[in-house]
Amino acid sequence: MNGVPMEHGLVLAATLFALGLCGLMFRRNMIFVLMSLEIMLNAAGLAFIVAGTGWQQPQGQVMFLLVITLAAAEASVGLALLIQLYHRFKTLNIDVASRMRG
C-alpha cells in the first residue's frame, strides 16, 4: 500500500486548527471558546502524531500525550473560570469581561 503522504496529514491538522481559530475568533459563548481551544490543541496533537508516524518515532505520541495533559488541565481551569464567570454575570458571554481597556 502507498500510505498517506505526510502533508495530507498535516493539511488535515491545519484545517482543524484553522477551524478552531475560527471558533475562537467569533464565538461569544465561553463554552464554545473553550471547545475551540480544545480543537486547536487537538489539531496540534494530530500534527504531532502525523509527524511521529511519518518518522516512525515514538516521540510524536509522547508529545501527543503531553498535549492531552495540557488539554485536560486547561479544560478544567477554563471550566472553573467559566463557572465563576456565569456566577458573577449570569451569562457566558465573554464580552462582559471587557471592562478593562484603553
Binding site: L21, L24, M25, F26, R28, V33, I94, D95, A97, S98, R99, M100, R101, G102
Partner: protein
C-alpha cells in the same frame, strides 16, 4: 615772573605729566558717573549738580594743563595703561594717544562740555532725576574722551559705542513719554547700523594689517596697498559707513531730528558739539586709509554736499526750534564731510571746532528760550521775545551770525569760507556750488529762526509769560560761548599740522579772496532775502501756502520723506517678520511631530478594546502576516 611759568610749562610737557594728566581727563568724569550712580538717590540736587559739573570742570582743567604742556612741546605722546586683550597677534591696549587732533577734540569736549554741564544745572533745576541726568552726561563725556584719545580702533570703538549708548539714554531721558523712548531707540539703532560698518571695517583692517593701532595702520596701509586698491576702498567705505551713522549724514541721518526729544543741554552737547562730529574725527583720524581710497574720499565729499543741501531745505520748513537747529547741525556736518572729501582734514576739524562753539551756543540759547517759555518750543507759538529774554536773544544773534557765516565778525565765516576755498582748490566745482547754495539756505533758515522766535508778537500765553533766566549757571556759558562764536573763536588755531596732511588749498593764496567775497555775498544776500521773506513782508507764508509751495513745504517739513521710506522698506517688513514668526515656526515642526505621536497614540489606543475576541483576531492577523511573509519569501 616768567621763570616759574616756563618751568611749569616745561614740567607739564614732560611725559610723566602727560601720563598723569591724560588719564585724569576721563577718569574724573568716570568718577563722577560712579559716585552719582551709586549714590542711589541720596544726593541732593545741589550735590548732584556739583559732582556732575565739577568732574567735567576738573577734566577741563586737566585738558587745559595738557594743552599748555602741548603748546610748550608739541610732541605726540602715548600713555599705555594696560594691555586690554592679548591673544596671539590680537593685542589691543588700553592706551591713550595725545596729539594735536585729539587735543583739539579734547578741548572741545571738556571745554564746551563743561559749559553745557554748567548750563544744565540751571536748565534742569527742579527735575527729579538730576542724578540720573548727570550720571549719563558724565558717562558721555568719559566715553567721548576715550573715543578721541584711544590709540587703537577697538578703544575708539569702546568710546564710539559708549557715546551711542549715552545718546540713547539721554534722548529717552523723559521716559514716561513713549515717543521719547522710541526716538532714543531710533537714534541708537540707526547709529548702530553705522557702527556695524565700522566694526566690519575694523575686522577687515585687522585681518589684512594685523594691528588695530591707528598709528601703525596709517604706517602700514601705504605699504600694503596701492591707492585705489579694492580692499582699501572697501575698508574706507566701511569706515565711512560708521562715520555716516554717527554724524547723521545721508542716508543714516534720520535719527538726529528725533533726537531732539532729549533735554536741550543734551542736544547741545551730544547732538551738536561732540558726538555727531565723531564721524568727522574718525575720517580725519583714519585719513591715511582715505588717502588711498579716492573713490571713498570723493563719496565722502559728495555725501557731505548732498546732506548739507538736504538738511538745509529741511531746516527751512521746520517749526520746532530745536529741529531747525538739528537740521542745521546735519547741514554743517555736511560741510565738514565736504571738507574731508576734498582732503582738507584740518579745515574740517577747524569747522568742527567753531561749529561746536556756535551750535552749542544756539542750543543753549534755545534751551533758555524753552525753559523761559514753559517748555514751548514751537516757533509758531513764540515771537516777540527779544525784549524779555535779552541774553538768549544775544546768544541767538551771535550764534546765528556764526552759523550763517556773517562775514568777518563771526567764527563760522572763517571756517566755512575755508571749506569753500578748499573745495575750489581741490577743483571740485560741484561741491563748491553745493556749498554756496547751502550757505544761502543757512542764512535763510537762521534768520527765519531768529525772526520767528524773537520778533513779531508773542503768539501764545507761554510766550507772553516768558521769564528770563537768571544766575551764574545760566549766564556764564552763554556769554563764554558767544565770545567764542565770534571772530575771537576763530583765532584758536587747532594744532593739526603734525597730524593731518595739508589740504589742497593750504599755502595757496591765489583766488582765496574771490571765494571769500563770493561767500560773504551769498551769506549777506541770503540774510537780506530772509528778512524780506520772513520779517518784513511775510512773503514766505504766501509761498508756503499754495500749490507747489505747499507741497515742497510738506516735503521739506518731513525732510524729504526718508522716515517714511525707511518705515516702508525696513520697519514694516521687520514687524511683519516678527508677527509671522512669533509662534516659533521652526519649532512648530516639532510640535507637529508631537501632535502626530499623539494621534498615532490615539489610533493605537483604539485597538485596546478590552474585547477578548478582538485580541484573538489581532493575534491571528499577526500570525497570518508572519506566515504570509514566509510564503512570499520562498
Amino acid at each position: 615772573m616768567m621763570e616759574p611759568l616756563t618751568t611749569f610749562l616745561t614740567t607739564l610737557s614732560t611725559a610723566q605729566a602727560t601720563a598723569a594728566l591724560l588719564p585724569l581727563t576721563f577718569l574724573l568724569p568716570l568718577a563722577g558717573t560712579l559716585i552719582l550712580a551709586f549714590s542711589r538717590g541720596t544726593l541732593s540736587y545741589r550735590l548732584s549738580a556739583l559732582v556732575g559739573v565739577g568732574s567735567v570742570g576738573l577734566a577741563a582743567v586737566a585738558t587745559l594743563l595738557l594743552a599748555l604742556g602741548f603748546a610748550a612741546d608739541a610732541a605726540p605722546q602715548t600713555v599705555t595703561l594696560w594691555t586690554w586683550i592679548a591673544v596671539g597677534d590680537f593685542t589691543p591696549r588700553i592706551s591713550l594717544a595725545l596729539d594735536g587732533l585729539s587735543l583739539t577734540m579734547l578741548g572741545v569736549i571738556t571745554g564746551v562740555g563743561f559749559l553745557i554741564h554748567l548750563f544744565a544745572a540751571w536748565y534742569m533745576r527742579g527735575e527729579a532725576g538730576i542724578t540720573r541726568f548727570y550720571t549719563y552726561m558724565n558717562l558721555f563725556v568719559f566715553s567721548m574722551i576715550l573715543l578721541v584719545l584711544g590709540d587703537n580702533l577697538l578703544l575708539l570703538f569702546l568710546g564710539w559705542e559708549g557715546v551711542g549708548l549715552c545718546s540713547y539714554l539721554l534722548i529717552s531721558y523723559y521716559y514716561q513719554h513713549s515717543a521719547n523712548g522710541w526716538a532714543g531707540f531710533k537714534a541708537f539703532i540707526i547709529t548702530r547700523i553705522g557702527d556695524v560698518f565700522l566694526a566690519i571695517g575694523m575686522f577687515l583692517l585687522f585681518s589684512r594689517l594685523g594691528t588695530l593701532n591707528i598709528t601703525e595702520i596709517l604706517e602700514l596701509a601705504p605699504k600694503a596697498w596701492q591707492a585705489g586698491d579694492t580692499t582699501v576702498e572697501l575698508a574706507a567705505f566701511l569706515l565711512l559707513g560708521g562715520a555716516l551713522g554717527k554724524s547723521a549724514q545721508l542716508p543714516l541721518h534720520t535719527w538726529l531730528a528725533d533726537a531732539m526729544a532729549g533735554p536741550t543741554p543734551v542736544s547741545a552737547l551730544i547732538h551738536a558739539a561732540t558726538m555727531v562730529t565723531a564721524g568727522v574725527y574718525l575720517i580725519a583720524r583714519m585719513h591715511g586709509i582715505f588717502e588711498l581710497a579716492p573713490l571713498a574720499l570723493y563719496t565722502t565729499g559728495l555725501i557731505g554736499a548732498l546732506t548739507l543741501l538736504m538738511a538745509g531745505f529741511a531746516a527751512l520748513a521746520q517749526t520746532d526750534i530745536k529741529r531747525v537747529l538739528a537740521y542745521s547741525t546735519m547741514s554743517q556736518i555736511g560741510y565738514m564731510f565736504l571738507a574731508l572729501g576734498v582732503g582738507a582734514y584740518d579745515t574740517a576739524i577747524f569747522h568742527l571746532m567753531t561749529h561746536a562753539f556756535f551750535k552749542a551756543l544756539l542750543f543753549l540759547s534755545a534751551g533758555a528760550v524753552i525753559v523761559s517759555c514753559h517748555h514751548e518750543q514751537d516757533m509758531r507759538n513764540l515771537g516777540g521775545l527779544w525784549r524779555k529774554l535779552p541774553l538768549a536773544y544775544m546768544g541767538f544773534v551771535v550764534g546765528g551770525a556764526a552759523l550763517a557765516a556773517l562775514p568777518l565778525v563771526s567764527a563760522g565765516f572763517y571756517s566755512k569760507d575755508e571749506i569753500l576755498w578748499q573745495a575750489l582748490a581741490a577743483d571740485q566745482q560741484g561741491l563748491l556750488i553745493a556749498g554756496l547754495i547751502g550757505a544761502l539756505l543757512t542764512s535763510l533758515y537762521t534768520l527765519r529762526l531768529i525772526i520767528g522766535t524773537f520778533h513779531g508778537t508773542a503768539k501764545s500765553a507761554n510766550a507772553r509769560h516768558a521769564e528770563a533766566g537768571r544766575g551764574f549757571a545760566h549766564g556764564l556759558p552763554l556769554v563764554v560761548l558767544a565770545v567764542l562764536s565770534t571772530f575771537l573763536g576763530a583765532w584758536i588755531t587747532p594744532p593739526l599740522s603734525g597730524v593731518l596732511p595739508a589740504g589742497p588749498g593750504d599755502g595757496v593764496t591765489a583766488g582765496h579772496g574771490a571765494v571769500e567775497l563770493i561767500a560773504a555775498a551769498v551769506a549777506l544776500s541770503g540774510m537780506a532775502l530772509a528778512v524780506w521773506l520772513f520779517g518784513l513782508k511775510r512773503g514766505w507764508l504766501r509761498l508756503a501756502d499754495h500749490g507747489m509751495g505747499a507741497g515742497l513745504w510738506q516735503l521739506w517739513h518731513h525732510a524729504w520723506g526718508f522716515d517714511m521710506l525707511y518705515d516702508w522698506t525696513l520697519v514694516r517688513p521687520y514687524r511683519g517678520l516678527v508677527a509671522l514668526l512669533k509662534s516659533d515656526v521652526v519649532e512648530g515642526v516639532f510640535r507637529l511631530l508631537a501632535k502626530l505621536v499623539r494621534l498615532v497614540h490615539l489610533g493605537l489606543s483604539r485597538t485596546q478594546t478590552g474585547k477578548l475576541r478582538g485580541y484573538a483576531v489581532t493575534m491571528v492577523v499577526g500570525a497570518t502576516l508572519i506566515l504570509l511573509s514566509l510564503a512570499l519569501v520562498i
